[in-house]
Symmetry: none
Subunit: 232 residues, 4 copies
Amino acid sequence: MCNTTKFIKMLEKRYKEAFERASEERQELILETGIEEFSSKGYEKANINVIAKKCGISIGLMYKYFSTKEDLFITCLQRGMKILDDILDDIMASDDKILVKTEKVIRATCFHSKKNANYIKLYNEIAASKNKEMVDILATAIEESTSQKYITSITQALEKGDVRSDLDPKLFAFFLDNLLTTLQFSYTCDYYRKRFEIYTGIDVNQMDDEQVVSQLLSFIESAFTYEKKKQQ
Amino acid sequence: MCNTTKFIKMLEKRYKEAFERASEERQELILETGIEEFSSKGYEKANINVIAKKCGISIGLMYKYFSTKEDLFITCLQRGMKILDDILDDIMASDDKILVKTEKVIRATCFHSKKNANYIKLYNEIAASKNKEMVDILATAIEESTSQKYITSITQALEKGDVRSDLDPKLFAFFLDNLLTTLQFSYTCDYYRKRFEIYTGIDVNQMDDEQVVSQLLSFIESAFTYEKKKQQ
Amino acid sequence: MCNTTKFIKMLEKRYKEAFERASEERQELILETGIEEFSSKGYEKANINVIAKKCGISIGLMYKYFSTKEDLFITCLQRGMKILDDILDDIMASDDKILVKTEKVIRATCFHSKKNANYIKLYNEIAASKNKEMVDILATAIEESTSQKYITSITQALEKGDVRSDLDPKLFAFFLDNLLTTLQFSYTCDYYRKRFEIYTGIDVNQMDDEQVVSQLLSFIESAFTYEKKKQQ
Amino acid sequence: MCNTTKFIKMLEKRYKEAFERASEERQELILETGIEEFSSKGYEKANINVIAKKCGISIGLMYKYFSTKEDLFITCLQRGMKILDDILDDIMASDDKILVKTEKVIRATCFHSKKNANYIKLYNEIAASKNKEMVDILATAIEESTSQKYITSITQALEKGDVRSDLDPKLFAFFLDNLLTTLQFSYTCDYYRKRFEIYTGIDVNQMDDEQVVSQLLSFIESAFTYEKKKQQ
DNA sequence: GATGAATGAGGTTTCATTCAT
DNA sequence: GATGAATGAAACCTCATTCAT
């Protein structure tokens, strides 16, 4: 139905038929356990035998469900993507103006960050992946729908005159997402959390979210709205 | 002399004395080879024996130079940091206004990106590291000096009235660096490059840098300069 | 039931669950092979890969059974302790007088020495270990029950007037065990065997055990029994 | 001159001529450093490169002095033997009766134990060595002279009627040395120290030496002196 | 469907010894 | 005499994957 799933489907199934036949609870258990392991240890150090044991299933069965470690990882990632994309979908499907949408996305980022921390960590994991072929596929699956939403929204705003006339919708969408992505990581990934603390002096979990939201919103709002008078 | 080196020094030497006694060419060869391997394969998959072989030295000698794989990695990283920090230092030491500095940094990012791609990839590597203890140390070493420079510049600009009065210098410095960091990665790291292409439709290497520079600059300029009139 | 096992249990299991699931023959094969290697080469020079190969199993499986080389060693040691302790238990559980027990222990030492040589060599191995922490645990596991048996027996003999009144039960138990331990080593460990030959002029294997038994027994008997008249 | 050196010489020099040409201080430094390392780490884990560094000499020079690690170890051992043997020599050279000599040896063991701990640890090290060929040579070098002294003393005492008539001088010398050797180890080697504590309840360093001396002496005295009336 | 025993290549690290200077 | 850079075999340990049951 929605745009999102279309792109996720670009990633073919990476699980075997046996996995589909497993009970939904089991599917969920396996994927959540995998997500937990991959996000806390990283892809290389995560151990598929350990994941199987934590799920209470045999390693043999795990390989009946997934052909390789990579397939398990990708399937875990798809689950995370689905959940995160649904949140974004809800926000972007509305008729709100771009800045209202932006505010909602920022708030969603701050407020959902704890619950979905592991999914976001998986994104961070692939953002550092060195498997070029895989990375291209994943980047497309992850970013294509998001970027379309942002670009479309900005383009419409441009047409309506809601944003300044000299902006390039694609690049501005890109900058917007850069800010949001980094913020997400700052709430969830070790390195970015420390970095946030270095900049602000405050651990992100003790930070007043409202302060972050309002400052980032005003940053983006101004960036989108005001055109420089005539320079030079 | 400058602030930067002070923070780099927070990371003590991670090489052994024997390494200091090696010829400068060899030191350089080892570090560059290490950087090449770590940035292309990632920390886990990089192989010390392979690095040693590529350098034409025995594995035993490698361990005379570095106690562990981690020490070699950190030393490689320090080399990258030194080089990248020097560039930033040059720019930030000037008396230019904040937006001029910003423009210079953006340009430096675009233009130096190819030469220093591997150093930047190392940053990306640690940004995804799961070794909390290490990550905190590295984040401090890497971000502390940069953040200070940005925050100081913005604070001064605020005092001089060069930027709008309602901004929080720390958070705005943070947003600024987020945009620059993501841009850097977009020029160098596989995932971010693909993402850039998804947003803009163009591979970053065939992109007109000037377009990116001017759009990002105008984005930041507006964000920094214009205050919303009356917030309803 | 008996005191002995209580103390052996102080050493928790050092094998993994997979080892328990292996067939008894395999368990025995692995431990006996390990004992053979450790007792003939010493802990440091014994090679896990070699032990695995001699057992006809892969190194990977060996690590499914034991987490580390040390764990394998300790488990081998526990097997040796169990067997040796059972022998001592049988003897000490009787109602015999202390000197009768002593004679039985001496005979057991001489007669069992060939069959159990390797177990005793393991004791010798840890007696020279430099791993303080481990040594304290092992010493306790090995000596605690034996010492209790000796001290209790001597204390009872003291109460009954079977031994002289001026002896310190603890120290005499200690001296007694010193003589027995050294005798054990003399039957089994290279250095002590040579030393025995140097003292007696005869290789321990060609020695008339009866001669050793009677002389040691009369040595201990006199030491335990006769009090010096008036110490000038 | 004395008996002792005769047997020590059975061990040919295990150092190269260059070592003889080194200054006496250096010789001493190297051997004491080696003794410290070998006694604390054990033969296998002691590292010849580390020993060289701790001596402030190059590894190359170390190999000018000693052909192999084993040679260095043996030479260290010889030094320890020389010192310990000299102490024993002084005691055994007197005209004292066997029991007086015994008392002196026991006292020497208790009182010298701290100063010479490392030498004794080396003995413990070779007592667990698995190199049969080496062990035989070392056992001879170490035990031959000691055993002769004890056996001679006891034989003379037997002739003079100072000890009971039914003892076998060789075996009784052997038992005597067993008690003394174990006591030595109890003062110095980790395993035996813990074992002493298990038997007596007291750490050997907080023990009243006089108590140990008097009990051991009375143990040996009775063992040597009193003959069983007629058994059976 | 489900198990888990079994594999073995491959990675990091150590250290006795050599040798050019 | 003295240095210390250099070697590389060998040890311990990990883990994705297979397959007989």
